[in-house]
Amino acid sequence: MNQHVMEWLAAYFDGELHGMRLQKVEEHLWTCSACQLELEQLQGLSTLLKDCPPMTTHMSHEQFAAQVGLRLPRSTPEHNGLTWQRGVNIGWLSIPLSIILGWALSQTASLIISVIQGLGVNLSWMSWFSSLFQWINSYSFWSLIDLDFWDTMRDAVPWLDWGEMLVHTIAPYLTITVVTAISLWCWMVCWWVLHQRKRQQIHPVL
C-alpha cells in the first residue's frame, strides 16, 4: 500500500489526481508518516528549483521582436505550403470521391437499363452494359460456387434454382459494391499511415 501511494505522490503534489485516487492518497497521508515525509521532500525540491531565477536579457521585448523580424524569410507562411502539395492533397482527397461516384453511376446505370429492358425497349448501346455485367459476373466470387456444386445440390434442394437465379442477378452489383468498399478501406488505411508519418515529421519526438 505504501509503495502504491509513493507512486502517486508526485501526481498528487502536481494536482493531477482526481476522484477516488485523490481521496485514497489524501486518506493515506493522514496516517503514513513515510509518505508525508516524501511529500515534504517533493515540496522542498520544488521550492529549491524556484531559487533558480529566469534568464534576464539586456534586450527589450520590442528589440527582440525587431531582431526576429529582420531575420524572417521573405516568403509568407501560407506560401510555404507549396502549391503543388496542395494539388497533391486535393488529388488525394478526390480518390474516395471518385470511387463513390463510380459506384453510384454504375448502380444508376444498371437501374436505368433494367427499367428500359423491363419496358421492352432494346437500344444498341445497352448491349455494351449487358456485356460488361456478364464479364463482371464471370469473374465474380459467386461464379466460383457455380457448376458442380449447384448441379449436385439442385437435385436435392429444388428451391436452389430460384437461389441460383437470384445470385446471378445480384452478383454484378454485389461485386461492384464489395470492390468499392475494399477500395475505400484501402484508401483510408493509406491515408492514416501517411497522416501519421506527416505528424512525425512536423512534430518530431524528443
Binding site: 502536481d14 533558480c52 534568464m55 526576429v68 507562411p77 524528443l206
Partner: protein
Amino acid sequence: MSDVTTIFGSPELNLIASARKGDRQAFGELVQKHRDGVVNVVYRMCGDPELAEEAAQEAFIRAWKNLHSYHEQYLFRNWLYRIAMNVALDALRSERKNIALDDLPLRSDNDGPEIRVEKKEKVEHIRKAILALPMNSRSVLILREYERLSYREIAATLDIPLGTVMSRLNYARNQLRQCLATYLEVE
C-alpha cells in the same frame, strides 16, 4: 498523441491568422507575448544565456516558417515550446555541451558567511544539476516546474504518452534530490 487543449484568447488566434497571411506586425506581437517563455525554456535547456537568446530567435523563425502547419487544437504557447525544445536540442548537439554530475562544484564548509555568494553558488549548483539531466527528463522537468504545464499539456507538447511524462518527471526529481541533497537538508 495529439490532445485537445482549451483554446483561450481569440485575439491570439486572430494574430495567428494574420501572421499566416504574411502580417509580420501580427507575428511581432506574438513574439513579444511569448518571448519570455520561449527564452527561458531554451535557457534552462541549454544553460548558456547567449546561446539561449540566439536559439530563441531561431525558434520563432522556425515557427514563422511552419505557421501553416499549426493546428488550433494545440495551445500556441505549447506549440512554440515544442519548437523551442527542438531548437535547444539542435543547439546543444552542435555545441556538444555535456555536463557530468562529477563536474559539479562541491559545497565547501569553509565558505564565508556572505549570503550573496552562497546564494549564487546554490543557484549555479541547481542550474548545473538540471543541465546534467538527460534531455528527455530535463524537458519534462522544465515544462512542469517552471512553465507549470499540466501532464496532459506536456504529453501533447512533446508527443509522448502520459505515463512517460510521469516516469521521466519522477526520474528527474529523484536525480535532483540526490544531487541537491545538502540544500534540501538545510531547508
